[in-house]
Structures are given as C-alpha cells and as structure tokens.
Symmetry: C2
Subunit: 136 residues, 2 copies
C-alpha cells in the first residue's frame, strides 16, 4: 500500500496527473486511508505503468482505454490491439517525415548571418513560403 506520492515516484507520473487519470476513468478510485488519502496496491501501480508507458509512446487516452479493456480479456483476439499499434505507427512515421523536413529548414534558418532584420534569413524564410526548400 502506497500513497499517491510514492506511486508518483515509482511510476514517474505526476500527482495531479494521477488524480486526473482517476477522474477520466483510466484507473479505478483506490481505497482510502482513515484520513481519506489514496492508498494504492501493486495492481494499481502496474496499471498506471501501463498507462504511463502508453502515453510516452504517444497513444491518446481513448486508445489506452481500449487497450486496457482488451488486456482484461486475455481470451479475446488481439486484433484491435494490433490495429491500434499499426495505425499509431503510421502516424508516427508521418510525424517523423514532417519533422525531418522541418529540421532541414530550421538548420538553414539558424545559419542566418545577417546583422539586421532586413537581411535575416529567419524572417525572410518565414515570410515567403515560396522560398522554402521543401513543400509542406
């Protein structure tokens, strides 16, 4: 049995976020101490770790809810879980591609060696989309 603070330390999820997850129905409301403080069990910790990890991987909360429900029915086909992961992979790959174009453009920007705004590549590039190296 640990307090919310200890749960937070063990999982890396901030205290207000834990309470928020409880409110959102991602984790069950835990037992309380005599003084009305939350007391978590190991099961609660595992569930929160699952959530934390999934969030780190960028899964939205609704998807995590689905994954959690699925994980509670080990005899069901894993079809849906698989689908969520694949869909997410696609999104991540698109985000990477976009960011790499952006990186190239910013690298160019940050090499600006003008002294004043009037010949600063940053402003110029942002002002005129037509000057971009890449299309976005």
């Amino acid at each position: 049995m640990f307090s919310i603070g200890e749960l937070s330390r063990r999982t890396g999820v901030k205290i207000p976020t834990i309470r928020y997850y409880e409110q959102m129905g991602l984790i069950d409301a835990p037992e309380r101490s005599e003084g009305n403080q939350r007391r978590y069990t190991k099961a609660g910790l595992q569930r929160l770790s699952f959530i934390h990890h999934s969030r780190e991987l960028g899964f939205p909360i609704e998807d995590i809810k689905t994954l959690l429900e699925l994980s509670q029915h080990p005899d069901k086909p894993c079809h849906d879980a698989h689908g969520i992961a694949v869909r997410h992979l696609g999104q991540v790959q698109r985000r990477i591609a976009k960011l790499r174009r952006l990186e190239r453009e910013l690298k160019r920007l940050s090499q600006c060696d003008g002294d004043t705004i009037s010949d600063c590549a940053v402003i110029e590039t942002l002002a005129d989309h037509g000057l971009c190296e890449t299309d976005h």
Copy 2:
C-alpha cells in the same frame, strides 16, 4: 480586398482559426464591409501566410508574435529571431530522436502475431516497461 473565405482558401488557414488569430492579437482586425464582414488586403494575406508557415514549422504563437514584431523593425539586430530559430531547432531534433525510438518500438509491436490477447506483444510490451528495447 477579399473575404475571410477567400483569405482562408489562399492561405490554407481555416476560417475560425483566422478569427481566433485576430482575437489573440496575431493579426490586426481588418476593415469591414458595409454589412460588417471582414475585408482583407494583400498585407493581411502576407501576415497570415507568415503566421501559417511559422505554425506549420511548430513555432508557438508567442514566438510568432515576437518574430512578427521583429520583422516590423528591419533595422534592429536579428539576434532574437536567430535565437528563436536555434532554440526551436534543438527542440525539433529532440522530438525526432524520441519519435525514432518510438518508431522502432512500435514496429516491433505491430509485428505481433499472437492470436489472443494473452500472447499479444502489444499488450505485453505496454504492460511491462522492462521489456522495452529502448529507454525512454
């Protein structure tokens, strides 16, 4: 002189977003027609393009405000604009690195070939952080 709809079409910024930018003070309130509809000039279009492009590059609105102010004083040193771009480049590079770790993990996830939840790699991997290939 064009309407908000035309401005939207020309810049790719959605109509409610244009009005939102006006409210946030990113763009000036334009002139109005007799019937109280917004009428934009070419200057307004250029400013909105600047904003749109900057947003696509992921600059937060506050940074864009600064960049816009800077661009209005072409005789000032471009120091700040340059700083904003460099700072942003760092953030982007960190985001890319994180996403690529994530991509590797998701690829592994999406190759799950279990039939039921109980041996689905997706659920398993999310449940046990210790199984991750990478540290995040």
